[in-house]
Symmetry: C2
Subunit: 194 residues, 2 copies
DNA sequence: GTCTATACCGGGATAGAC
DNA sequence: GTCTATCCCGGTATAGAC
């Protein structure tokens, strides 16, 4: 068994992303992440007390990176408010298929009991960004604006979930193709609200 | 350990639905289903050679029942083609939250290698029903019609996945509420295509 | 057709050596 | 801070008794 030199804590988080992308959250295991780094199965427990604390750290990084990519996608989409909001769906599909760490990881049920301050801060920032993009399209009602966000996340999450579950195996199932279709669907949903 | 009297094969399928609804596909196990019925963990293997064959039988029943509920929901929605197609999303959310056996179970990746004729027939019938409802809204292009179906399945599946993953925990997360919002989103998507 | 018992596997987590 | 070694648990699947 090799001896890890460097920041194993950071390496564990990075390897967790690779593991999530490859196997998904269902088969995520601390032991597999350790194997991927060539360290013993006990090593991760020096840095995280248990599996959920590792996943919580992954969640915090995922929320930060997803937020960054959403901001970049919105800016690349131009000035139209609907296009900017619809870009969220594309960024989500691309991030999720690349990293495996979507909202089901970021907001995983078991994690809310952990009181991880970093994670709390990053998820809050992510939601704030989504709200800023959505109020530009639906400023009349806070409730309706929240529903619009959830609609767009639902369609983006649904596309990626069906993609990873093999539902699109017979059609053109490339992630990029699905991303553009998610953007179109999101734009239709946003337009219907305006 | 109790001795099961009656049709254990059928009972195993029914108990699998209950287990899926309670724990989800991730934690589905043959042993847990056997426990639920009060039989030994070896008993299921007299009726299904392995775990995947049990899930394949569950998939066939799920496809048939989901199709029936979709037909009923469409008929209850009236004569408008958009309303009939949008009703699919509501039926899907209700079925999925009640049984846990959505498209990720019906079309689970590992099952396509099994050559279960009953399952093949039921999934085909389900897709045919969806196509009949979608051509009424988008008759111009087969490709676009398929995309419309996938859009609506995506939004319905996404809503249910986020609901079961606890994303809606702070808002009103009842299944019925989510079902009506999925119908509205589906109607918006269908209208945008017309 | 179902039981008990068991082999085997893999993941979570800990103890103690270095 | 990482290792080796180990315990415990639970799932899959099989063998053989009834």
């Amino acid at each position: 068994m090799g001896y890890h030199h460097g920041d194993l804590r950071v390496a564990l988080i990075e390897a967790s992303f690779a593991s999530l992308a490859e196997y998904g959250l269902q088969r995520f295991s601390v032991a597999a992440v350790a194997r991927r780094l060539g360290v013993s199965s006990a090593a991760p427990y020096r840095h995280f007390p248990d599996r959920d604390h590792l996943l919580s750290a992954v969640s915090a990084v995922a929320a930060r990176e997803l937020r960054e990519e959403i901001v970049a996608a919105a800016d690349a989409a131009g000035a139209d408010e609907v296009d900017r909001l619809a870009a969220v769906a594309g960024a989500y599909v691309r991030f999720m298929t690349r990293t495996g760490a979507g909202f089901h990881v970021i907001f995983a049920a078991g994690l809310s009991a952990l009181h991880d301050e970093e994670r709390r801060e990053q998820t809050r920032a992510l939601m704030t960004t989504l709200i800023e993009l959505a109020v530009a399209v639906e400023p009349s009602s806070y409730q309706e604006m929240l529903h619009l966000i959830q609609e767009i996340i639902a369609v983006a999450h649904g596309y990626t979930a069906l993609l990873t579950d093999g539902f699109f195996q017979l059609s053109n199932g490339s992630a990029e193709h699905i991303a553009t279709r998610a953007v179109r669907a999101a734009a239709d949903l946003a337009t219907a609200r305006r």
